[in-house]
Amino acid sequence: NLVLFDTLLRLGDDSLILGQRLSEWCGHAPSVEVDLSLANMGLDLIGQATHFLGAAGAAEGRGRDGDALAFRRDVLDFRNCWLVEQPNGDFAQTMARQFLFSTWQQMLFDRLTASTDATIAAIAAKAVKEVTYHAELAAEWVVRLGDGTEESRRRMAAGLDWMWRFIPELFEMDEIATEAAERGIGTDVTLFRADYDARIAAVLAEATLEAPKDQRPIVGGRRGHHSEHLGHILAPMQFLQRTYPDATW
């Protein structure tokens, strides 16, 4: 069941880490409305992580629950992609990350509603609505900032430039992803790469922005090889569980 376990970890960790990143904004957003919408997305993502990681613990069958998985693994055991662990930066950078990720997650969850694993299918079915909204909201901001002022345009372009190199990892099909797709638990993400590219291009066009230059793909997150950011995300996130190992909360 390693494939199911790992598939669930990848899904759960993506949501968890991005949710954690978004929650860093709390109280610091450009307006109360934006604060609300970032918290709202963060909440959706933490909810998804709770379901996926709970299911991962069950699939593993070694008595770890979602909290144990979220709070008691170190970086090498995290399975999220590099994109979600990237720093918030300014609001444009946060929206660049959200747009590139949620657009992908929406297409992914859409397909996962047909997963042969009933739990994955059920979580995806609920989450796809949330994520569709995230993708739309982020796309609106990409357009608004790209086609807003000179400054917002510059910042939006810089945000996309920072995040762009992490797209290829989203479409990586390693052994586990391939087997998950073959077993129908997961899906072959390369099949919607063209749709994804088209959607990104359409939004960038509307935002009057050019796509950044492609570069050598950066991968490794799905095998536990992350950027330096993840360790700094985990240290505060896991502090209480690490410090008080015998406590429940």
């Binding site: 109360v32 918290a39 300014d90 357009v143 900032l145 807003g148 209480l240 909360w249």
Partner: protein, 309 residues
């Protein structure tokens, strides 16, 4: 004078005053100050709790806390809207906050040091807020009263969640229980200060009560809070940090020790332990977000222009 008499008669009859109705300037001014201060408190109040979202000890607690802080942002929005109906823009109110002219609740100038503080804030701070706010559901100004109805419903939910955290900690490991007691020790007196100065130092109370924008005196509310909260602390085995606290059979309430009013006034002056952090965080969020707000406005304008063309 006719208008004034009519206004006062409506208020006395517990009718709602609506934005388009005539009202005395002092009423408008007092209400604007009160509602905007309340709105600012919701927004600044996101910070001490936001400080623990990234460190919440379980996925469930993280989600609950995130939802709570989100509710506070929502309350801030209703309240700014209610205040705007009195003729002051949200930007003006925010500028007043950042310049130090407008105030927010003194309680948010204390640090959240441990996870137990999140419990203590829900239990004590939201508890005190509810005590202040429940009567305001019947305040004379319509938009404010209606905002309060929604706010109060959510606040009492938050208060229960906070108490539940404390209960859980108090029944937990020795380290957790210590954390809980320490949080109560630190938040107790500042919570009592939330009701404001004693009645003999609160000259505007009478006028505000006549206008039905206040329905009980500070000391009445404080007494009520103590009477409700002390048994809650007892129930989970925590001690209220007041050696003078004892039940007074005659008054049917607790006697309690004197609040350190010198500390209160220092905090009102902006000298609370983390007041500088709070104002810095709010100012930076606002200033660093300026380009986003400008971009959104520019985009909306371009778009409207294009559509019109």
């Amino acid at each position: 004078p006719d208008k004034l008499a009519a206004f006062e008669a409506r208020v006395a009859a517990d009718e709602f005053i609506e934005p388009k109705d005539w009202m005395p300037e002092a009423y408008r001014r007092t209400l604007t100050r009160q509602i905007s201060q309340h709105a600012h408190s919701e927004i600044v109040g996101m910070l001490p709790e936001g400080n623990w979202i990234t460190r919440a000890p379980s996925l469930r607690r993280k989600a609950i806390l995130l939802a709570k802080v989100q509710d506070e942002a929502g309350h801030g929005l209703y309240l700014y809207s209610a205040a705007e109906t009195l003729g002051t823009s949200r930007e003006e109110m925010i500028e007043a906050l950042h310049s130090g002219k407008a105030k927010y609740s003194t309680i948010f100038n204390y640090p959240t040091l441990t996870w137990a503080d999140i419990g203590a804030i829900g239990w004590l701070v939201d508890g005190a807020a509810i005590m202040n706010q429940v009567p305001l559901q019947r305040t004379s100004y319509g938009p404010y009263a209606r905002a309060m109805v929604r706010v109060c419903k959510e606040e009492s939910f938050h208060q229960r969640q906070g108490y539940e955290i404390m209960m859980h900690l108090a029944a937990g490991t020795p380290a957790q229980k210590r954390m809980a007691q320490d949080a109560l020790d630190r938040w107790w007196w500042p919570s009592l200060m939330m009701f404001g100065p004693t009645d003999d130092n609160s000259p505007n109370t009478a006028q505000s009560m006549r206008w039905r924008i206040k329905r009980d005196t500070n000391d009445e509310l404080r007494q009520k809070f103590v009477d409700i909260t002390v048994p809650q602390a007892d129930a989970i085995g925590l001690s209220v940090p007041d050696p003078e606290l004892r039940w007074n059979e005659d008054k049917g309430g607790y006697d309690f020790g004197p609040v350190d009013w010198e500390e209160f006034y220092a905090v009102v002056r902006g000298e609370g332990p983390v007041a500088k952090e709070r104002m810095k965080a709010r100012r930076e969020a606002w200033e660093e977000g300026a380009w986003v707000r400008e971009a959104a406005a520019a985009y909306a304008e371009k778009h409207a222009a294009r559509r019109a063309a």
